[in-house]
């Protein structure tokens, strides 16, 4: 036990990290990279704006921390007991107090304006070209394509032992979501049991799946590629092991894929009652 602890705390993982660097290179977009320190690459309009907003925030955050640290450092050097044996007795300075109330308010307004813009942009109802329906289960996802023949399939994680080269552990699934690029997609999210959260960082998607309700969000994928996500609300024993994998393809390939998928995942039986047209009562 002790050696194991030591190994794992000191050196053991270095080899692991090395292997990861190699594997990670094959998946530059759509997931994090080793030692990454910032947001994942953006591949949707919302995530692009999140990047912009976060960059602005970072500047403000770092400035505030540096300012406070600087003042602290000056105080430590200048006002220690040795250099300043006689403390001042100043306990008030109205002007100063007004300034340090007013300046933060200005900074907050500077933050709030782009923040609310981003929020309302992300919420703006789009006229979607298609719908993806997401249903969470303990511990896998199932996806329905109501506009393409209403076929549905389950998406289960692939065990580490059977992964192929380049497939990331804990992120790879047997049946990924396939979606077309440059298409506005309505995403409906719900669950069959506990609360889960459907999240794909690069696409700026993160929406709770709550029993008894259907949440809506949207995405428009800008680049072809594979995007990964993980369930982001504690949902029980295998919470860590219900990945989300999105394959974004061209519209043509998407059309071809839906044809195959319809057969592969045998569409659900159509309603027995002949589709009666909607009636206007008025």
């Amino acid at each position: 036990m002790t050696t194991r602890i030591l190994r794992s705390l000191i050196g053991g993982s270095l080899t692991g990290v090395g292997a990861v660097v190699a594997a990670g290179a094959a998946h530059a977009s759509g997931m994090a990279t080793p030692w990454q320190i910032n947001l994942q690459d953006a591949a949707s309009p919302v995530m692009e704006r999140v990047h912009g907003f976060h960059n602005m925030l970072l500047v403000i955050q770092i400035s505030i921390v540096v300012l406070v640290l600087g003042v602290l450092a000056y105080i430590i050097v200048r006002f220690n007991a040795k250099r300043n044996p006689d403390p001042s007795r100043t306990a008030h300075n109205t002007l100063l107090e007004i300034v340090w109330t007013a300046v933060p308010i200005v900074i907050l307004v500077i933050i709030a304006i782009p923040s609310l813009k981003l929020l309302y942009f992300s919420d703006r109802a789009q006229d979607p070209d298609m719908t993806l329906k997401v249903t969470a289960h303990q511990w896998y996802w199932s996806y329905t394509y109501p506009d393409h023949g209403d076929f549905a399939f389950d998406s289960l994680p692939v065990a580490a032992e059977v992964l192929e080269a380049g497939q990331p552990r804990l992120l790879t699934v047997d049946n990924p979501i396939v979606l077309p690029v440059d298409t506005t997609i309505q995403v409906l999210v719900t669950t069959d049991d506990v609360i889960h959260n459907f999240a794909v960082p690069s696409l700026g998607l993160k929406t709770d799946a709550t029993p008894g309700r259907v949440n809506e969000t949207w995405v428009r994928i800008s680049k072809e590629g594979t995007y990964y996500g993980m369930c982001s609300e504690l949902c029980g024993v295998n919470h860590y092991y219900m990945p989300i994998q999105v394959k974004a393809v061209s519209k043509e390939r998407f059309a071809a894929w839906t044809q195959e998928a319809k057969e592969k995942f045998a569409a659900r039986p159509a309603p027995a009652v002949a589709a009666a047209p909607a009636q206007s009562i008025q």
């Binding site: 705390l9 993982s13 990290v17 990861v20 594997a23 997931m31 994090a32 080793p34 030692w35 990454q36 910032n38 947001l39 919302v46 995530m47 907003f53 976060h54 925030l57 955050q61 921390v65 406070v68 640290l69 602290l72 105080i75 430590i76 220690n80 403390p87 001042s88 100043t90 306990a91 100063l96 107090e97 340090w100 933060p104 907050l108 709030a112 923040s115 609310l116 813009k117 929020l119 942009f121 992300s122 919420d123 990331p168 552990r169 804990l170 049991d193 506990v194 959260n197 960082p201 700026g204 993160k206 029993p211 309700r213 990964y228 993980m230 982001s232 504690l234 029980g236 919470h239 860590y240």
Partner: protein
Amino acid sequence: MAHGAAAGHGAHAHGEHDHHPTGWKRWVYSTNHKDIGTMYIVLSMIAALLGGMMSWYIRLELAEPGIQFIEDTQFYNVLVTAHGFLMVFFVVMPAMIGGFGNWFVPLMVGAPDMAFPRMNNISFWLTAAGLVLLVMSAFVGGGPGTGWTVYPPLSSIAYHPDAAVDFGILALHVAGAGSILGAINFIVTILNMRSPGMTMHRMPLFAWSILITAFLLLLALPVLAGALTMLLTDRNFGTHFYDPAGGGDPLLWQHLFWFFGHPEVYIIILPAFGIVSQLVSTFSRKPVFGYLGMAYAMSAIGVVGFIVWAHHMYTTGLGVNARAYFTTATLIIAVPTGIKIFSWLATMWGGSIDFKAPMLYAIGFIFLFVVGGVTGVALANAGIDFALHDTYYVVAHFHYVMAIAAIFAMFGGYYYWIGKISGKQYNECLAKTQFWLFFIGVNVLFFPQHFLGLAGMPRRIPDYPDVYAGWNMVSSFGALLTMLGTFLFYYIVFHTIRSGKPAEANPWGEGATTLEWTVASPAPFHTHEVQPVISAGDHGHGGHGHGAHPRPAE
């Protein structure tokens, strides 16, 4: 510490007051605010060892990718849950409110004891019973693997069929009842039992912070109790408050929980503000800058804290206008928070600062609180929550701003007051070593978690994709340092009580102006039986650090 206090009192046979019970009865039946405070501190130190070991075990598991030690991932969830509950309800709250609050609020305001000494005893034992129930919950069935937020339906009978969650609920009920009684006790004491001349506007900021905290407890905990009761009846008596199949709504729980939960983080941090204000003033040998602004900033934080709860629920499907409102309200809290930081800096400015261990912790607190504060400003924005919700960015944020910041104030408070409590003074060199070990440790531990969170690593997972290996290893190394720092602290406490030098009544010099420094060390069993008279002429602004010269009772 219990031994120290006991020894201290024993040595200090106090003639006419010597009729108090001895042996186990002294503690079990205690109605003395100092003894009860000591018991709270001991309880907190025990719980800290448990909660700490859980977190180090968690970090050990997370040191490298793959499942290393915790094969049963339900047990991982139980560890996370228990760690959160222990630290919040049984480490920070008992130490700051029950421990330092009990010890020093009556001393600082010049009251002979708490208003309701028997109720004080009940508060403590309810908290202790809560701790026992919470520890038991981890051993019932699979344990509660719900996170400290206990969201249904995961916490419902269908997904946690054994009694573990019920034990957890009872633990919180019992501890919550204890805290409510304690809060009433503090409010009554502070409002009605101050010494003549100790006006509200002369009261030390630590007493102010406990007063405001007590009001938050009073308003927030009953809501948690109600919400927990509904969860309990949903689980056991077939009600459907949170069950959509029966017309309930799981989101109702989240609203109620966070209506309690957000004020709860202020319940943790306000007493820390109070302690840091005393430390900064004492060791700068200056009165607190902007005393009134500080007191009212704390009150403002308390009030606004009740109308921001849904910033924890941005991804649940709240309407956009609701999210815009909660974003704005949350950002506003940064203003009074900023006032506090700047006032501490201004208190130090022009001071003659003595960098004793408590002061190092106060400065460390300010640093951690600023770092956690600026990430809080990011998390306030609903628009960016798509990227940050439920990631390690959140874990880093709340440990900086609340958890570790509070621990820093606690360590500062321990070193500051241990002489008054035990009659022995700690070893400065050991304490400074402990500070640096812990300070470096927490930053190595939690700073990289910002990177992990931004890069998308979810929280509450026992295993993670291999790309996150690097920073996780660094973070776990930091945890190792905090473990050493914590053990060193326990050794210092032991060392102080065993072989510390006798403490003077006031070891800190002219900067320490509050009333507790006017009584002997260790503080006698009974203090302020004849209330000290505070007069404005003595010190301008009274006991909050303006060089008060109260006339002590003895």
